[in-house]
């Protein structure tokens, strides 16, 4: 039997992928529907000499992985709505201090304690705008186990490449769903190693002086170079500064290093988009229903296509605009009040041709739900 083929939960896939990516440190706090990730990490990490910590809350969980990352270890935490809310403070710190780490948010229905064991996709905007202050951030998602694996590895890769926290936004439905996963052979997905400084001991190392390509080589805590890390605006030494030039330079750097690379960061899948005259745009669990409907309608000769987004932030504006150009109308399929819908409308030339098919009752949106919306838009009645 092929040991690389498994039949497991999406949350467990995330763990397999994190191990594939080289995770060495996990800190977390139990919360439905993400707890299986912590449980699996507690079991698997010590087997490879890694560390698992159950902290006193989600605040300290994110703080702990930031600390571990500074010593040179790939680190991750996993949570859901209320826990993710608690993490916003430390998330801002990781953005400001430019510490690579991965935060998994397995979405439940919100706000507040909401619907712990039901599906929802209401955290899309929180991942982008949850922390105070201007910034940019990378948020990835996936709709099936093979893609959860790839996006988890990508999350670690982007974190290292851009020296930034990356959010992996899953949902209860895919997190708890069991389906087949074929775990890639080692080496099949390239891994990004941490970029460490080549500056020798005894020579000044500037932890916050970007190279020409915008990247900042790191030095591990415990190695020769000793430097300061702070959440305040800081100069190239990492020392607090309120010099307007330094403040301007840093905020521009934090935003530009991600926004200027949005094409490199954009991940998506196109299904029957080329000749489509009606397009669905979806992501996560909703995209499974959208894809089902598209395949179904194609068999009947209807020219329906699907753009599945896997990078939610920075929002892939150009890709969405391009795809929507020749389309009669587009329907965004999601389980919230239209968070991605807003972004699509901002991206396209004709926002009046963008519609919403959603469910906000904790139940998975079905292909029938989407079909009914399509019929209403087409004036066919339900």
């Amino acid at each position: 039997m092929n040991k690389r083929i498994k039949f497991i939960q999406g949350n467990d896939v995330c763990v397999e992928a994190a191990l594939y990516a080289g995770i060495e440190f996990f800190a977390g706090y139990p919360i439905t529907p993400s707890t299986e990730i912590a449980e699996q990490m507690a079991s698997r990490l010590p087997m490879i000499g890694g560390k698992f910590l159950q902290m006193e809350d989600e605040i300290s969980s994110l703080c702990a992985i930031i600390g571990a990352s500074l010593t040179g270890h790939k680190s991750m935490t996993a949570t859901s709505g209320p826990g993710f809310s608690l993490m916003q403070e430390a998330l801002g710190y990781a953005v400001m201090a430019e510490i690579p780490c991965v935060i998994v948010n397995v979405m439940r229905g919100g706000p507040s304690t909401g619907l712990p064991t039901h599906a929802g996709q209401g955290d899309v905007n929180q991942t982008r705008y949850g922390i105070h202050g201007d910034h940019s951030i990378i948020v990835l998602t996936a709709s099936n186990h093979q893609d959860i694996f790839r996006m988890t590895v990508e999350a670690f890769n982007f974190a290292e490449t851009y020296r930034t926290p990356v959010i992996l936004l899953l949902d209860e439905m895919t997190g708890h769903l069991r389906e087949k996963i074929d775990i890639p052979e080692p080496g099949n997905i390239a891994l990004v190693k941490r970029l460490r400084t080549a500056v020798k001991s005894g020579i000044d190392y500037h932890p916050y002086l970007p190279r020409e390509d915008g990247r900042l080589p790191m030095s591990d805590f415990g190695d020769e170079h000793r430097y300061n890390v702070t959440g305040l605006y800081h100069d190239m030494w990492g020392f607090p500064s309120d010099n307007p030039k330094i403040v301007y330079g840093l905020i521009r750097h934090l935003v530009d290093k991600i926004e200027n690379n949005s094409h490199q960061i954009a991940r998506f899948r196109k299904y029957h988009v080329k000749d489509a005259d009606v397009l669905l745009i979806s992501y996560g669990a909703s995209a499974r229903s959208a894809l089902h409907l598209v395949e179904n309608r194609r068999r009947r000769g209807e020219k329906l296509g699907l753009l599945e987004l896997q990078t939610l932030w920075p929002f892939p504006v150009d890709i969405v605009r391009e795809v929507c150009k020749e389309i009669k109308f587009t329907v965004v399929v999601e389980m919230n009040m239209g968070q991605v819908l807003q972004q699509v409308r901002l991206a396209v030339d004709a926002p009046e041709k963008i519609f919403l098919a959603n469910r906000i009752d904790g139940e998975l949106i079905t292909p029938t739900d989407i079909r009914n919306i399509l019929r209403v838009i087409q004036g066919k009645g339900v």
Binding site: A27, S43, M47, C63, A68, T71, G72, Y227
Partner: protein, 267 residues
């Protein structure tokens, strides 16, 4: 080495007010590290937010100036992922015991090897003199203009109850004792808590008519006694100084090493 070899001269002058006790703690800390012959490469200082927290920028260690109250959580990640590092966590009283109270008791409970120094000036200095959980009943502050009705924590009692395996207290007046206790705390194989009463003439002293820095230091001399002193029996309000708890107890990082051995066998 000279003490100046342990600081980052580029970042001086420091931002503390004239007469502040925190500089005395920094001085004692640097002498302690020097006396112990510790390598700067192995030293990490993690601080939170507040006047006390700025100390981490001045030392030539690996240093992290983090979030208000969360220093111990960051430090836990550093220590767990690289247990050979020597981790010192200076905290203010509000930092450690108001916003950071939960992290404080849980770090103590785990008995993870690091040194928590509570630089207790009984006030929020950086924000301009609000009462803290260590100000005490009746103290004046900008948010207690009619006198504080909040009762204070006893840092020592709290640390002992939470499971810290080294707990001590001293003041900025007793500098040699301070240096000795910092050395004991650093070398202790477990979670160490050292409370240092540190004067804030600018906010606490002024609002509570405690005089200037010298008056406040004299008060530390007068109103504190060594543990077990007979004076305490005669005057129970005196504050005791010294080592309250020092015990051997399984340390968290070493426990985790054992756990790894177990997990590897199972694999």
């Amino acid at each position: 080495m000279a003490v100046k070899d342990y600081i980052r001269e580029r970042f001086f002058p420091h931002m503390w007010c004239a007469g502040c006790g925190h500089g005395i703690i920094l001085n004692a800390l640097l002498h302690s590290v020097d006396d112990l012959g510790l390598n700067k490469k192995d030293m990490v200082m993690v601080s939170g937010i507040g006047c006390s927290a700025r100390i981490s920028g001045y030392v030539d260690f690996h240093s992290m100036h983090t979030l208000h109250g969360r220093a111990l959580a960051f430090a836990t990640g550093i220590k767990m992922s690289k247990p050979d590092l020597n981790v010192i966590v200076p905290m203010g009283d509000g930092d450690a015991l108001a916003i950071g109270g939960n992290h404080f008791i849980h770090a103590a409970r785990r008995n993870i090897e690091m040194t928590a120094i509570v630089m207790n000036n009984r006030i929020y200095g950086m924000t301009g003199g609000q009462f803290s959980p260590l100000s005490g009943y009746g103290a004046m502050g900008t948010t207690a203009p009619y006198g504080n009705i909040d009762h204070d924590f006893d840092v020592v009692d709290l640390a002992v109850a939470a499971g810290a395996t080294f707990v001590a207290r001293t003041t900025t007046y007793h500098v040699h004792e301070l240096s000795d206790l910092i050395q004991q705390a650093i070398t202790h194989k477990g979670f160490s808590v050292l409370e240092v009463l540190s004067q804030c003439p600018t906010h606490f002293g002024r609002r509570n008519k405690a005089g200037d820095a010298v008056d406040m230091l004299k008060m530390y001399k007068k109103r504190t006694v060594r543990i077990g002193s007979d004076k305490k029996k005669a005057d129970p309000d005196l504050i005791e100084r010294g080592v309250f708890v020092k015990k051997d107890f399984p340390e968290y990082c070493r426990e985790y090493d054992q756990l790894i051995l177990k997990a590897r066998k199972k694999k």
